[in-house]
């Protein structure tokens, strides 16, 4: 049983990793991520890349919704902005991949900043509806600004090429996506050790109090919108390299609900929750697909019901977690850890 971890300095108390155990676990995780491709089939590599893209995007939404308390219903639209940016720059100017991804993040961050502007006047649920309005307007732009977005047909994305190596298949793309994911998640974790991150949390907990102790609400809310959209933009850019085509249908409104669900199911306001949520929500449709295939001998048309069942399960997960486990999978994880840490005493 571990009673407590004694810390002797503020630096240690605020450290990214608070105990040696955490460092060991993180090292093991990194090793697993590096060794995973040795085992994975093409299908699993594709899933792994998709999961990591969703982890980036969910972490972004978590910064905005989980940590700053601003509900966004337009997160998928920011991802679409990133995907279109990559498709546009790589397709037209053949710019390097990493530059494209940074541009994707930057353009999405700028749009996110603009969308956040109404937060000067409105907040909470009104702001959520404003983001919904913004995503509808962005959808209109994707569909009708044909010279740039290709209209209804969308844009094809060239293969990502780094230093002459074509990252055409998921198992190669993995080596681009995995380091970016690790860096961005660590950066998010680190963000909440800084003044900016703590300001976000203060705004979430009580915005008026935060303003009274000297946090500029507008500035930090807009920063949060921009950072969150930056994550979405980078994720969208990687998504474009994975699927190689971007159309207005690529990021439907349901995708925004998907990310919101991932944040809630995983646990709003914890980085690990965003990771859990993204992994869980990405794998559920795959699990359903597998079970539908397994059911075919008994129900020949099981696959027809896949999409509706998925929609129902997404919805029920959101509702169920909000009612029964509002802190999400992260809280379950914490309870499990505490149980073992305090064993043989009861928690």
């Amino acid at each position: 049983m571990r009673v407590a971890t004694a810390k002797e300095s503020y630096a240690a108390d605020q450290g990214l990793f608070k105990t040696d155990t955490q460092k060991v676990w993180f090292g093991l995780l990194l090793a697993a991520l590096v060794l995973f491709p040795l085992h994975g089939s093409n299908y699993w590599m594709f899933l792994a890349v998709l999961v990591m893209i969703n982890v980036i995007s969910t972490t972004g939404l978590n910064i905005l919704t989980g940590y700053t308390g601003q509900v966004s219903l337009g997160h998928a639209a920011f991802m679409a902005v990133g995907a279109y940016t990559v498709a546009f720059f790589d397709g037209r100017f053949d710019t390097p991949v990493l530059l494209n991804l940074v541009l994707a993040g930057a353009v999405a961050a700028f749009i996110g900043y603009l969308v956040g502007l109404p937060s000067l006047r409105i907040k909470g649920l009104y702001l959520a509806i404003a983001t919904l309005a913004a995503s509808v307007i962005l959808g209109f732009i994707f569909l009708n600004w044909t010279p740039v977005t290709g209209g209804l047909r969308g844009l094809n994305v060239p293969t990502a090429t780094i230093a002459g190596i074509e990252l055409a298949t998921p198992d190669r793309l993995y080596w681009l996506v995995m380091p970016i994911t690790v860096i961005m998640v660590l950066a998010a974790k680190n963000l909440f050790r800084t003044r900016v991150g703590r300001a976000f949390i203060a705004i979430r907990d009580r915005d008026i109090s935060a303003e009274i102790i000297g946090i500029s609400l507008l500035k930090y809310k807009l920063t949060s919108f921009a950072i969150s959209s930056f994550y979405a933009g980078v994720a969208g850019g990687l998504w474009a390299y994975l699927f190689r085509v971007v159309t207005p249908e690529s990021f439907p409104a349901l995708a925004s609900i998907f990310f919101l669900a991932a944040v809630i199911v995983g646990g709003a306001g914890t980085i690990i929750g965003g990771i859990f949520g993204a992994v869980f929500m990405t794998l559920i449709p795959e699990f359903l697909k597998l079970s539908a295939t397994a059911l075919v001998p008994w129900f020949p048309d099981a696959s027809i019901y896949l999409a509706p069942v998925r929609a129902i399960i997404f919805g029920l997960l959101i509702i169920g977690f909000l009612i029964f486990e509002p802190m999400g999978l992260a809280e379950m994880w914490r309870r499990t850890r505490r149980y073992f840490a305090l064993w043989p005493f009861r928690t």
């Binding site: 509806i129 309005a133 609900i257 027809i304 999409a307 509706p308 129902i312 919805g315 909000l322």
Partner: protein, 294 residues
């Protein structure tokens, strides 16, 4: 291109017809918001499930119209009650954002249920409104639009009367003003919560039947709810009068924009209005301006 006067008149009338349905759905939204302070993002989907239940009764079971409409309304009320009791009530004490997100989950569930039972294909409701087109002076109005307008107006008139004079309506308004005070004078506040959701689901289902009879039904018809949001935000979340006026206005605007600029500009126009209203007057035209204190 000269725009003919008669064209404007006809488009306006058609728009007011759609607008009356938006207003009716908006009233359903406002009833829920007034009683439980829940922003119900699933109102469009509640409308959709009402339309599909009606389809089930009238086309699936081939019931006559006078039986299938009441049956639909009863089923819708039950659905509304179940939603309130199982999903909304447990969270009402918590922060409003959780309940809001529950209604987001609800949209997904309702769409899934409809696609599971009826598949995602668009369908047509059986014809039950008179077919004879209505002429107002020289202007031609499709019969369905005209009769939907009349039915929606009648229902709203009844609702407004009910809220003004009936005990239950007064209980609802009292709950909206101050829950604790309402409870202390003996109003069954949880009962009002359930009642408001059942009533709103019924009104939404009726609007769904009308919307479906004009434009057909599909699992995507919940999108109508997006325009309804714009209506209630422009009108003010807790104002029935606001929902009426904004509903007619947004319906008219969508019709005019759709006719003279192209269908794809409809949502753009309404949502631009939404953004402007949110920034300039967040509590809407007739809504209560809440002052926040620490």
């Amino acid at each position: 291109m000269a725009i003919e006067f008669i064209d404007i008149v006809e488009t306006s009338l058609a728009g007011l017809g759609t607008g009356s349905l938006m207003a009716l759905t908006g009233v359903a939204f406002v009833i829920i918001y007034k009683a439980t302070k829940v922003i119900n993002l699933a109102i469009g989907e509640m409308l959709m499930i009402g339309a599909f239940v009606f389809y089930g009764f009238s086309a699936g079971l081939a019931l006559p119209i006078w039986a299938s409409v009441p049956a639909t309304l009863v089923v819708a009320a039950l659905i509304g009650g179940v939603i309130e009791r199982t999903m909304i009530r447990p969270l009402l004490k918590d922060n409003p954002v959780s309940v809001f997100m529950v209604t987001i989950g609800l949209t997904s569930v309702l769409i899934g249920v409809v696609e599971l039972v009826w598949s995602a294909e668009p369908r047509r409701l059986p014809e039950f409104l008179p077919q004879q087109p209505v002429l107002l002076g020289d202007a031609f109005i499709p019969s369905k639009t005209a009769y939907s307008f009349l039915i929606a107006s009648a229902v709203m008139a009844v609702l407004i009367t009910v809220f003004a004079f009936w005990r239950g309506g007064i209980a609802l308004r009292a709950t909206a003003t101050d829950r604790a005070a309402a409870s202390s004078v003996g109003i069954d506040v949880p009962g009002v919560f359930s009642f408001s959701w059942m009533l709103a689901a019924t009104v939404a289902a009726l609007a769904g039947i009308l919307v479906g009879s004009v434009g057909g039904i599909s699992s995507a018809m919940g999108l109508f709810g997006l325009s309804v949001f714009v209506v209630v935000i422009v009108g003010g979340l807790d104002s029935i009068l606001g929902a009426l006026i904004a509903g007619l206005f947004i319906g008219w605007l969508e019709a005019m924009v759709g006719r003279f600029m192209g269908g794809e500009f409809k949502l753009l126009a309404t949502f631009s209005i939404l953004l402007i209203v949110l920034v300039v007057r967040p509590y809407g035209l007739f809504g209560t301006h809440e002052i926040e204190r620490l």
